[in-house]
């Protein structure tokens, strides 16, 4: 299963200078290998280069230096651009700005229609994709009658209907309320587990990053940390130094540990934290 699907090879990218923005690399010397079936969260605060990283994966942006390959195809090869986008789909931040049609099922059909797929096959894919994100009952709705989370699920279905191997979500939960965020998280986690779709999840919510297999932290245009959530969040001081938060559960556990209470190191979710605290309390009562 350790097949690489997206590979960054010493990639740098700089946006053109604008009036009040001096030229500064958005991404600098990035090396990253994303394996098929992985669920990667990319963390970082604003301007850390995480969105640029996302746009480099499907040839919206092409690196100035280095090379990005998707399933062996170089993103700078213009003849391959649409083949690459068939492999790597992207869901954006604002749900309203990526829905093209006035009816949900027509919007999901947009991608396959662009690929020139025959109508019966499109119909099948659209129904399948909508069932996958649990939006099949809403297939005849107008998008403006849906909630933010539902719109993002429609956008995900639109990518699924193109049968991409990998979905990149560029801060797709940033504009949603907690319920919408949970809907989207549950959906992509299921897609990753059950359908083996590679997920690159760009976010600044730590609690979402915890659910990934692997966390990549970006800081100042470079990769700052790369590892499992436990590895990355183990060093709370290092994360805080670059101005990022750590998951609340991890922070609480850390403070308890520092004040002399014996709590295990690898705590990231609130369930784990509750469990550990209960064990300590019960042990105290018994002793």
């Amino acid at each position: 299963m350790d097949e690489t699907i997206i590979e960054f090879n010493n990639v740098s990218f700089t946006y053109e200078a604008e009036e009040n923005n001096p030229e500064k690399p958005a991404v600098k010397n990035v090396n990253l290998k994303i394996n098929r079936g992985e669920f990667i969260a990319v963390l970082g605060h604003n301007g850390s280069g995480k969105s640029t990283l996302a746009k480099l994966t499907n040839a919206i942006l092409v690196p100035d230096e280095g090379k990005v390959t998707v399933a062996g195809m170089d993103t700078s090869d213009e003849s391959k651009v649409y083949d690459i986008r068939r492999k790597v789909g992207m869901v954006f931040q604002n749900p309203d700005n990526q829905i093209v049609s006035t009816i949900v099922e027509d919007d999901v059909a947009f991608g396959p229609e662009n690929l020139g797929i025959p109508p019966e096959e499109i119909r099948r894919r659209v129904d399948e994709a909508l069932k996958c994100v649990e939006m099949y009952d809403f297939r005849l709705y107008e998008p403006h009658r849906l909630s933010g989370g539902q719109k993002q699920r429609v956008a995900i279905a639109g990518i699924l209907a193109m049968r991409t191997d990998c979905i990149v979500l560029d801060e797709s939960t940033a504009m949603l309320d907690p319920r919408g965020r949970k809907e989207v998280m549950d959906t992509i986690r299921r897609l990753n587990r059950e359908h083996g779709i590679t997920v690159v999840f760009i976010t600044h919510f730590m609690d979402e990053a915890v659910e990934a297999d692997r966390v990549v932290v970006m800081n100042d245009s470079r990769i700052f940390m790369d590892g499992t959530p436990y590895e990355v969040f183990a060093d709370i001081k290092k994360i805080k130094k670059i101005g990022l938060d750590v998951p609340q559960a991890a922070e609480l556990a850390n403070e308890l540990r520092e004040s002399g209470i014996s709590i295990p190191e690898n705590i990231l979710t609130s369930e784990e934290c509750v469990q550990a605290v209960l064990e300590v309390v019960n042990a105290d009562n018994r002793g």
Partner: protein, 271 residues
Amino acid sequence: MIRDITIGQYYSGSSVIHRMDARMKIVLTLAYIVSIFICRNFISLGVMALFVAVTALFSRVPVKMLLKSLKPVLIIVLFTAVLNIFYTTGGSTLVEWRFIKITSKGVFSAIFMSIRIIALIVCSSLLTYTTTPTVLTGAIESLLSPLKIFHIKVNTFAMMLTLALRFVPTLIEEIDRIMNAQKARGADLESGGLISRAKALVPILIPLFISSFRRAYDLAFAMECRCYTGGDNRTSMKKMKLAGRDFGALIFYLIMLAGIIVVNRLFPAVI
């Protein structure tokens, strides 16, 4: 309140008119509009009015909704009627008082014109009541497709129409939001004369335009990511197909048209 708006004025249903091919509906509506101007007397006009009434009955669109679509044109109907009463002369004189002279021909032509306009509006609203905007755009695309031989990008045009429709509710929501934001900062949008109210719109329109450009930019990215090239090799999930009922409607319409031409010849013209 703004969340409830539907785009266009589609009335969902599954009547025979709803199920007709949208292309045929557009063609027949256009043909109807042309032929209602051919009518020269009350018999042919009556047949045309009856036709639209029967179509409305078949469509199962409530009469109330049809009346609603007539409301905005009521003034035009009245205006035309009044003009016709006073300015068409001929036949026997009914009323004569100082400079006002009402003749029988004037009254007839006023009634005639009113029926004509009302039938026209009802017929075209039936089209939009029974067809969703999306299907309508698809039909327009299909009807315009012969223009491809002149290298006109018909599918790009249709995509623009779809996107415009898609963003109507989004932009209405946006206007609502901006208006509230400006009101919260003390903007006065409701008082003053015409000019000061027009001026008050500037701080609403500028943010609206800026955000629309941003949306357009985002949307273009999203469309490119989904492999949109604007090319001709796009397929469509929903294929339009002419069925028996469409040809039936066409044949029925042609027979009626022939009848109207004959009636026009046989009976004297009112106008």
